[in-house]
């Protein structure tokens, strides 16, 4: 076990993937000598050279389009998009090319591309630096979507994403880049749980609280606070947003009968809506209350000074928990 920050764990994952397979090449803006604006690729240029750690011109569609061509040639490109809000210029290449080429060619062309995206808010960043675009990609057939929440998962699932023959959109919560955790650097990838598997982060009996990315930390805080209040929350980290591990989710819901899903992304047609619809289809008869969403508002990501009103926090999560438990809450009024 080695204690690493999430950012360092990602760097270690990249290094290991590049050592394991010389077809793995990295592409991105500033990823070479600078090591990326978040320093995730720090040191990789020195170890692997400029042919494998490729500093690119400043053009996102170009970066992803190049990765497509490299995949045609048998490479496994790992793309770094500098910030979440800058993935949109590459949207066409991702959804119309990366996602579709395997299907169009009936598997004759593979797109083992990993697109890493420093993601989501809570760091007081400038405009376009705190977006949560995951639903666009979850909605796109042909992509896998992963969101990590801790260093151990980050290290392992990044390597799994790179090893996967499918394209993976890989979301890295930048708010957690400096969070530390234990990572088993030597553990064989073959023994790891599959990339698509959800994880029960904290077992509980009263309400299933589903989250992913940085929101898992908030969910855990909520679980601790709820425990003080005599309520037992089961916290699930989805880890994979496409596919979602509904077997694990349903098992929890069948136990608790109550569900809250939390994410930073705005609400309409978001991941929480999908998760709740699927839960309702799958285990309606186990539900004791209507499942609830706690999400960002349906507004453009607000200016930094306002983001705390946008991001679901401990209190909003607990309010939703109260509502699914039919305890006094923001709708019924505070307990007299």
């Amino acid at each position: 076990m080695t204690e690493l920050t999430l950012g360092k764990a990602l760097g270690a994952g990249l290094r290991q993937a590049m050592r394991d397979d010389d077809k793995v090449v990295l592409l991105g803006e500033d990823i070479g000598r600078l090591g990326g604006v978040f320093r995730i690729t720090d040191g990789l240029l020195d170890e692997f050279g400029a042919a494998r750690v490729i500093d690119t011109p400043l053009a996102e569609s170009g970066i992803v389009g190049m990765a497509v061509g490299l995949a045609f040639r048998g490479y496994r490109p790992v793309v770094e998009i500098q910030f979440d809000g800058f993935v949109y210029p590459a949207f066409d290449q991702i959804v119309a090319q990366v996602a579709k080429l395997h299907y169009r060619t009936q598997g004759r062309v593979k797109m083992p591309i990993t697109i890493r995206i420093p993601w989501a808010g809570g760091i007081g960043a400038a405009e376009h630096h705190s977006e949560s675009p995951e639903a666009y990609f979850v909605h796109t057939a042909g992509l896998r979507v992963v969101a990590v929440s801790n260093p151990a998962d980050a290290y392992r699932s990044l390597r799994q994403a790179i090893a996967s023959d499918d394209p993976v959109i890989f979301f890295e919560p930048k708010r957690l880049y400096h969070h530390k955790g234990d990572v088993e650097l030597e553990a064989p990838l073959a023994d790891a749980p599959p990339m698509g598997l959800a994880r029960v982060v904290r077992p509980g009996t009263d309400v299933t609280l589903i989250a992913y990315g940085a929101m898992v930390s908030t969910a855990l805080e909520a679980a601790e606070a709820a425990e003080d209040d005599g309520v037992s929350l089961e916290v699930i980290d989805l880890r994979s947003l496409s596919p979602v591990d509904y077997d694990s989710v349903a098992a929890s819901v069948r136990k608790t009968g109550r569900v809250v899903v939390a994410h930073e992304a705005s609400r309409e047609a978001g991941v929480a809506a999908e998760v709740i619809a699927s839960i309702t289809e799958r285990c309606f008869e186990y539900l004791e209350a209507a499942p609830l969403r706690v999400t960002g508002h349906d507004v453009p990501y607000p200016p930094a000074k306002l983001e705390k009103y946008h991001l679901p926090d401990l209190d909003r999560l607990l309010d939703a928990v109260d509502r699914v438990l039919d305890r006094p809450n923001s709708l019924t009024g505070v307990e007299a």
Binding site: G62, M66, L70, Y75, A96, T105, D165, P243, D245, Y246
Partner: protein
Amino acid sequence: MSPQITPIADTAQDLELSERILAPDGSRIPNPRLDAFVADVDAAQLRALHRDMVILRRIDAEGVALQRQGQLGLWAPCQGQEATQIGTARALAPQDYVFPSYRETGVIYARGAQPGDYVRMWRGEEGAGHDPATLRVAPLQIIIGAQTLHAVGYALGIRHEATDEVAVTYFGDGATSQGDVNEAMIFASSYQAPVVFVCQNNHWAISEPVSLQSQYPIAGRAPGFGIPSLRVDGNDVLACLAAMRWALDHARSGKGPAYIEAVTYRMGPHTTADDPKRYRDEAELESWRRRDPIERLEAHLRAAGQLDEHQLAETQAAADDVAKAMRAACLGMVTRPPLAVFDGVYAEPHTGLDRQREDYAAYLATFEAEA
């Protein structure tokens, strides 16, 4: 070799300034830049180019006919562009890899397409028409310009492996307005990638004339990216062959990307869904009829006593045979069973999609139970 650039947007007007070897009447004119690249081309090879173009025109006509008869959802004709497509594609080496747009019927023909390959995509049987690995041609691209970046990425791979392959990409004049095409040129130049850009300037992007995309000759843009370019008469198959050999030599010998603008004309509609009468002058079409690429080579060969009626009839018969095989392949296509809609979305199992497939299979099974 530096291109001749004249800042006149109307390429039809300054066509004379494009590189050419055969005049519209078929006479051979000296071209100090390009002659050396086709010095080896003898009469038999010229006849082969002629035959290719005749066959391509026949394939194209069959595609239109099949669409009119309801056998294809759509077809993108390339009539008039035979010299550009055959001339450039016949310059390729087997190991080169092509990233085309949807109009490159002649390119996949030259790469050895099978009869069904021409129609499979347009008929809606599969997302891609041919096997990319056997033809070394990526699936036909509908998103304007996206394929140019793929070619550069592929070429970067070639460069890293230090082989003598070249990646080639085809696109239209309208595509030159796309960000992707400009990004592709930047990336190609930055990495000195062995890639050849072939812009088929057929004067129209659906109803928009080339002058809307570019107020400057398109070949003139490439040098601004650090990419040498040639503007060639796209209805002169010999000039297209020569220009492409120049470009491929350049890229293959490690000098980086090269760019060709082939000035040609789309004689028919943009696709079978288009009505060019709404936006295009009949007189313009007429003036381009006089520059027909097939007739030009034919005139040249006849004047040299290298093409007789017997050979012409044989070529036409060969073209008819190809069209017949294409039609038979088209009509013989068997649509895959319903669950095939799920095939090939992912390379590895995806639990969400696998569940949908199971649900749909169970739903379909209820009909079998009824029967």
